[in-house]
Symmetry: C2
């Protein structure tokens, strides 16, 4: 029996590294897919390469799709300062990038069909970032319905399935799973800023560091350590 193939959208962060390791644990062959989308924090691409190498991925593709051509987010428009609004309820922070996950999953679908892959692994998590519209379960369900109609493989009944194992997990659960899977958390990069070291104050750093501290691993509050 041949193993299944997973396309894993690898951002370089903790969540997608964990989803990727879970796909490997299932026995799947994994092709990593990362994006240079004009993000402020390009360093995450280097972290994605580091994680892909550590996990021994069959292949890792980095594609250019420059969403900073039109910006609309503090992550793709350097003129906008990053707002840290994670504590404010019902506000979508300005780190939201218009259409980003929709674009990335669409490109993943293209690759999945070209390579006869069975699933697309996503590190999407709704619990800590309920502000982002494209990180919620209803979004993923609608995307699966579209995917089943969008591709030749989907119409034939063997299209790729979106697999977002962490979607309803807390960040602490993700940290503990990452530790169990042996992921070198210190090699991942989550910070929204594009500096040499993680800022520790943006929403992404804060949520990650809180979970690490609560899991007793404050020593891992470093990022992309070489």
């Amino acid at each position: 029996m041949t193993s299944s193939t997973t396309i894993s959208l690898l951002s370089g962060g903790l969540d997608s590294a964990t989803a990727t390791a879970l796909a490997i644990e299932k026995g799947n062959q994994v092709i990593g897919l990362s994006f240079n989308y004009g993000q402020r924090h390009k360093k995450e691409i280097v972290a994605a390469q580091s994680i892909a190498s550590y996990l021994g991925l069959k292949e890792h593709i980095i594609l250019n799709v420059n969403l900073s051509t039109w910006g609309g987010s503090s992550l793709t428009d350097l003129k906008q300062a990053i707002h840290n609004q994670g504590v404010i309820k019902n506000v979508i922070p300005n780190t939201y990038v218009p259409g980003r996950n929709t674009v990335f999953i669409a490109i993943g679908l293209s690759l999945a069909e070209a390579r006869n892959a069975d699933e697309i692994a996503l590190g999407i998590n709704a619990m800590d970032y309920s502000g982002y519209p494209d990180c919620r379960p209803d979004y993923l369900e609608a995307y699966q319905r579209l995917a089943d109609l969008a591709t030749k493989a989907g119409r034939e009944g063997h299209g790729a399935k979106l697999w977002a194992p962490l979607v309803n997990w807390s960040k602490i659960q993700i940290v503990e799973e990452a530790l169990r899977l042996g992921i070198p958390i210190e090699k991942t990069w989550s910070c929204y800023q594009g500096n040499d070291e993680a800022c520790g104050v943006c929403d992404s750093c804060r949520i990650r560091d809180n979970a690490l501290r609560q899991s007793g691993r404050a020593d891992l509050c470093v990022q992309a350590k070489s």
Copy 2:
């Protein structure tokens, strides 16, 4: 009252030029969006620029998203010969590009949200190309449901609407509408081959030329005439 804004996916072909002209006729401001996706027939991008200029678009963006990185289609993999299978029923031709429209519309959604656009105009047509899974009404309906959940604007109830005015038209209807709208049909490019002149035998040329002949305009069976 300010006019509405349309993002128009402009391939350089007849159908998207017609949809774009219809958006302009409605009084909308139109931003053209074209893709360099590693297609064999890059000449269509030059035709798109020519049409954008002729129609006086406010702006025309050409974005790189290299789907030939993985191919999977005779349009993005030069090792595959183009099959002309238009007369064979129930066969999706090898000119189908995995996920292409899904990727293009996703990128259109990103641009639409960043620019507060009201709609995304698509030249998609199901009648002549029922073989392509991503040119059918059920696909567009599923995409609209996704779009309404995918973006901040969609969640707030003012997201962009997908507008595919030609989806159920015959090619002859499209030709006649293009003539009515004054589109310089001879400046568009539909041929799948990447040669200097249109081949006249690929599915795309054949369907276009048949409609032009039936409309009494065999003289327009040229493409990208400068």
